[in-house]
């Protein structure tokens, strides 16, 4: 495998890992605050549809992004009302949200565009186009570093860079701010936070809201940057892979970057089965690569290779007085 092919594979790794990373960080905020969220998938899907639909109708991808975030936030609010206000089962609420998004997006797409549950293709300003970073062209002739900078680092859409910047930002918010400390505390021991006079409900809603924003960006990336328009079920299990990545990362931001890159890499090489065969000389089944993120996550969950311990109050509704 030559250098340029490696760059190509890594480049598509970054493209495919970006939605996973955004959704994984979204789940991280929510689960660190003690709200399990298996509705990441549905939120991404809803955001993908509304971002593509609004971007098509207005011609502005930025309005599309806002619409995507709004749709995702609406589902987050529903999750919050069900699991925080009414102390319902967070897992069941997540399942319901996934189905709601899967059904509503096709229903509305059919009503608005009559194209069998998809939006028309986006062009021009209706999409996020790739950005060429400064000096990418002029430095391309520099050996090794030049192609890395030109092919791998430069030439992505703005959302990719946003996603990568979100990693240190998430780390800083969670581990260096008062809000982050309280947010983590509310996921471990909400009663203590309540005793300290801080609103458990408020913090959890804030976390669920941040989760909604990030899922919205992830969904908008799918429909307006990775692809040009919405198609039915386009999130294709990415929300669940992000969930797997979150466990793989043991609910930590930097690990989340690594685990989503790993899973993105698996998706990228699954698209190039010829490369694997040439490199290691064995034909690896595509299905095995598809299943590998899930198998790895089960192994990690089983605790045979380092134990993944979730936030202690995760999944439990907080009841003030028992």
């Amino acid at each position: 495998m030559d250098f340029l092919t490696i760059l190509q594979v890594l480049d598509s790794t970054i493209r495919l890992a970006t939605p996973l990373l955004l959704a994984c960080l979204a789940g991280l905020f929510s689960e660190r605050a003690g709200i399990f969220d298996i509705g990441l998938e549905g939120k991404m899907l809803a955001a993908a549809f509304f971002s593509a639909a609004v971007a098509y109708m207005t011609g502005s991808v930025w309005l599309g992004l806002l619409a995507g975030i709004a749709a995702s936030m609406a589902l987050s609010a529903l999750h919050g009302i069900a699991s925080i206000t009414f102390q319902g089962n967070q897992l069941i609420s997540g399942v319901a949200i996934n189905f709601l998004a899967a059904g509503m997006t096709v229903l509305i797409a059919q009503d608005w565009f009559s194209q069998g549950g998809r939006t028309p293709s986006l062009t021009g300003a209706g999409r996020f186009n790739s950005i060429t970073l400064p000096f990418a062209e002029s430095l391309q002739s520099v050996p090794i570093l030049g192609p890395i900078y030109h092919d791998l680092i430069s030439g992505h859409t703005i959302l990719v860079y946003v996603a990568f910047l979100m990693v240190p930002l998430t780390w800083w918010i969670l581990f260096r701010t008062r809000f982050g400390l309280r947010l983590r505390a509310v996921g471990e021991n909400p009663a203590a936070v309540d005793t300290a006079g801080v609103s458990v409900v408020g913090l959890r809603f804030a976390a669920v809201g941040i989760c909604g924003i990030l899922c919205g960006v992830a969904g908008a990336y799918l429909a307006t940057a990775l692809q040009a328009g919405f198609v039915k079920d386009m999130s294709a299990g990415r929300g669940y892979i992000a969930l797997a990545a979150l466990i793989f990362a043991k609910w930590r931001p930097w690990y989340a970057l690594m685990s989503t890159m790993l899973f993105g890499f698996l998706q990228a090489i699954a698209l190039r089965p010829d490369l694997i065969q040439n490199t290691i000389g064995v034909k690896v089944q595509v299905q095995l690569l598809d299943a590998l993120p899930y198998i790895l996550t089960v192994i990690i969950l089983a605790g045979f290779v380092g134990k993944a311990i979730p936030p202690r109050a995760g999944g439990e509704p907080y009841v003030k007085e028992r």
Binding site: Q90, V95, G103, G237
Partner: protein, 364 residues
């Protein structure tokens, strides 16, 4: 003191939730510019007014009974088995292996063999998540979700490779041999003078599902094991003091659950497709969640809820055929049912409890 009489909990809350889901669905139909009354009429005519419609409704209901029972048995042990989809896929594999490689003389023997195959494979697929939950504390919801995807990849691998007959194009096994074909309702009930259930896929496995409802009821409410499962689900620490092994209860409940989910494959794979295809679950594994919630985890409730969802499924297909409303309307209704009967249960329950308390105070 109970806040509410038992009948309100069992009957009133599901009905109110259903009405709420119905109102929202009506609004959705209105919003996409269709006439809800026309739509409902079309659904009822297509699903319930003809015997063929019933044939489809009961065919879907058979799937949902199995997956609904699967979810509810696990719920009794306070396990959320979201892996019905994957367990059903493995069940399909069990059915296919039993039908393809054992020369059955007659369908009545074949259905026994394929049911055992389906239940064993489905249960085996639930075993690893169950073991990991019981022994290592890995959250069963996450592991069963992961196992759904692993099952899909496995089935995909087998159907494009090992199990595909040479020369075939589509990813499926060979057609099952003639003696394994199950009699459909048409074969059983239609005569030359009165054609009934023409072309409908409902088959003898519907009665298998009814039997499963009865057996699950006996198991949960009439046996020691069922008592242990319920006790464990009610209070894990209490059950431990009573000498009930948590590990054993989790694993047995999940094995039964996985086996039931796997058995839906007898209906779809042996009864309808007569070969193993990729999309053999038709999403029924997830609908089982809605069915179990709606049926309040009671086999009789599951039976009613399964028929309701069977009706919705068949009605939704009719809608998609005759109007511009896509089938996904049913997914939305399903989501609303899960939302109201599951996640927003307290929203319905709290005002009702207040109402009943107020009524009781007045009496006193």
């Amino acid at each position: 003191m109970d806040k509410m009489p038992a009948w309100a909990d069992v009957v009133l809350i599901p009905i109110i939730s259903l009405i709420l889901a119905g109102i929202l669905s009506t609004l959705v139909i209105l919003a996409i510019g269709e006439n809800p009354l026309e739509a409902y009429k079309l659904m009822i005519e297509g699903a319930l007014m003809r015997s063929a419609g019933w044939g489809y409704t009961l065919y879907y209901a058979t799937n949902f009974m199995f997956t609904g029972l699967a979810v509810s048995v696990a719920f009794h042990a306070r396990m959320f088995n979201i892996g019905g989809e994957g367990q059903a896929m493995l069940g399909g594999l069990g059915v296919a292996l039993a039908c393809l490689f054992i020369p059955w003389p007659h369908w009545s023997l074949a259905i026994l063999g394929s049911s055992i195959g389906a239940a064993l494979f489905g249960a085996a697929w639930a075993l690893i998540p169950a073991y990991l939950q019981a022994k290592r504390g890995s959250h069963i919801v996450i592991t069963t979700i992961m196992f759904n995807f692993i099952a899909a990849a496995l089935l995909n691998y087998l159907l494009v490779g090992l199990l595909k007959p040479a020369g075939a194009m589509d990813p499926a096994t060979a057609k099952f041999p003639e003696p394994t074909h199950l009699p459909t309702f048409q074969d059983m009930f239609a005569t030359a003078e009165t054609p009934l259930f023409r072309g409908a896929p409902a088959n003898v496995s519907f009665f298998l599902a009814l039997l499963a409802c009865l057996l699950v009821w006996l198991l949960i409410w009439r046996t020691k094991l069922g008592y242990e499962i319920r006790a464990f689900g009610y209070s894990q620490s209490g059950a431990k003091y009573a000498g009930i092994s948590g590990v054993k209860t989790i694993i047995i409940a999940m094995l039964i659950s996985g086996g039931l989910a796997g058995m839906m494959a007898v209906n779809t794979t042996q009864g309808e497709a007569e070969r193993l295809i990729l999309n053999m679950t038709e999403g029924a594994g997830f609908i089982g969640i809605a069915v179990a919630l709606m049926g309040r985890n009671h086999p009789f409730g599951v039976l009613l809820a399964a028929i309701l969802f069977g009706f919705l499924y068949q009605g939704g297909a009719e809608l998609a055929l005759w109007t511009s409303i896509p089938r996904e309307l049913i997914v939305v209704i399903q989501a609303l049912v899960i939302l109201f009967t599951g996640a927003l249960d307290n929203m319905v329950r709290m005002p009702l409890e207040k109402l009943f308390l107020a009524l009781r105070k007045k009496e006193a």
